[in-house]
Symmetry: C2
């Protein structure tokens, strides 16, 4: 496994792989790798494939007062996990590599970023779209892998990739969960034991909502109300949103007919957790 | 010469060229080709090279009230010029090809777009940066050619290309002028005979400013005043700006020491003309 800390080294490694006739596959991450990331790497791996994992805690997708400084960076553990998973290249650039002095360009995706996490994290999706565009141009993969847990991010990246004519296939893999249902997230390490127990209320609320819809409930407001009640009754928390949206446009749906996505964002003891489920 | 009207056809033509071992070179244009464009094509041409010219009157870089509808589109003449210049591929997509329903992504370059044409054409440079990013991703050229006449556009595209890590070299070619000094522009066809005679005041003002600086004048305001006086005394017009800026940052320079760029934008009988000269 090669570790590239500069854009030039990453490009060289990819060029060698291409010259050897291998296809190139990218798993972009912010590190603090967990089983969710590993499932993306496994989805990327296959004989003849060159798998690159980028590890970059991207400052431009964190807002003021967010957890940029304390975001976990267990570099050695991440590298060991990548090695054991058969990753070919880990690209770990510095912020200065990615954003040298004079950097001035941003990529914006309208519409899809208006709701859900958008209003709660101003600038976040511009930061994501911009850094992913850069990673795509540096590695030039055939496919790139993202988790369904960050559903809005995946939708934004799909849209951006298509709109900017990047010749890259976006693969979105299912959310990986703890046994009690909690969606894996690098931020789960922030949770105290009490908050960890309480945090299961997100996935429980999603399952509750899903059951109501499958049982025939077509009024979004009723489903949302039941989900909110479930979350607030689990303990003190601050709900950013509980929403039911069109999985394609991410716009709120009031009358439930076709497929929909239930999405929640909740802060427990200051830690912001998100989760979602698509009901077909 | 091949003419591709779809993104897929353009990609196919480029892929064949790559498979044949040719490097790929792009001249992005809005058509209405003149000697300025031809100089870009000549700069791109060399043995073994595959030269693509895109012709696309990009709606997103025109503001409300600008000349999108009346912008000249002499398709047959353009194709004949490309053929005679040895162009390999003309990419002529429709607006629907480039901006299908649901299109939502834009590329923004901050700072460089704050001055000069930026405030006078809100959204223009986002439209330019976005369409050029798309063209770069569709054609994936080794080098791309732009004219110094649109100096701010060239600076924005250089910045965007570097910031987004597009592996493309940007080549900026000198402004081509009529014998009397008027910079070539597809918009010159809008000029009445009287306006055409008057329009020479732009390049005259630039030469006047350049002479003053070479003669030792270091006060920007004095040079700008003389240039404005020259332009207004040539006939009725509306000056968008007369500025002296740093050629790298495009920020106004008040005390002239190092290299600088003199830039003017003037409306004559409703036609907006721009021109510039760099004084080393």
């Amino acid at each position: 496994m090669e570790v590239a800390r500069t854009i030039e080294d990453a490009r060289l490694a990819v060029r060698r792989a291409r010259q050897a006739g291998r296809s190139v596959h990218l798993v972009p991450t912010m590190g603090a790798l967990h089983e969710g990331h590993m499932s993306l790497i496994r989805a990327a791996r296959a004989p003849g494939r060159f798998v690159a994992v980028s590890i970059f805690v991207n400052p431009t997708q964190f807002g003021p007062g967010e957890d940029l400084e304390k975001y976990p960076r267990p570099v050695e553990a991440d590298l060991a996990l990548c090695r054991s998973a058969g990753v070919d290249l880990v690209f770990m650039p510095s912020p200065e590599q990615m954003y040298p002095e004079g950097f001035a360009t941003s990529v914006h995706v309208a519409g899809l970023t208006d709701g859900l996490c958008g209003p709660h994290r101003p600038g976040h999706f511009d930061g994501v779209a911009t850094v992913v565009t850069k990673l795509f141009n540096i590695i030039q993969p055939d496919t790139a892998y993202f988790g369904q847990k960050d559903a809005q991010q995946a939708a934004v990246i799909r849209r951006m990739t298509e709109d900017l004519n990047l010749p890259i296939e976006i693969v979105v893999c299912p959310t990986v969960r703890e046994r009690d249902g909690l969606a894996l997230s690098s931020r789960n390490v922030y949770l105290s034991p009490g908050a960890r127990r309480q945090a299961v209320c997100l996935s429980e609320a999603l399952r509750l909502g899903e059951r109501m819809i499958r049982a025939g409930q077509t009024d979004s407001a009723k489903v949302i109300e039941a989900m909110r009640t479930h979350i607030t009754s689990a303990g003190p928390c601050s709900i950013d949103y509980v929403e039911i949206v069109d999985p394609r446009t991410l716009r709120p749906v009031s009358r439930l007919a076709g497929p929909c996505m239930l999405a929640v964002a909740v802060r427990i003891e200051g830690t912001r957790l998100i989760d979602n489920v698509v009901v077909e």
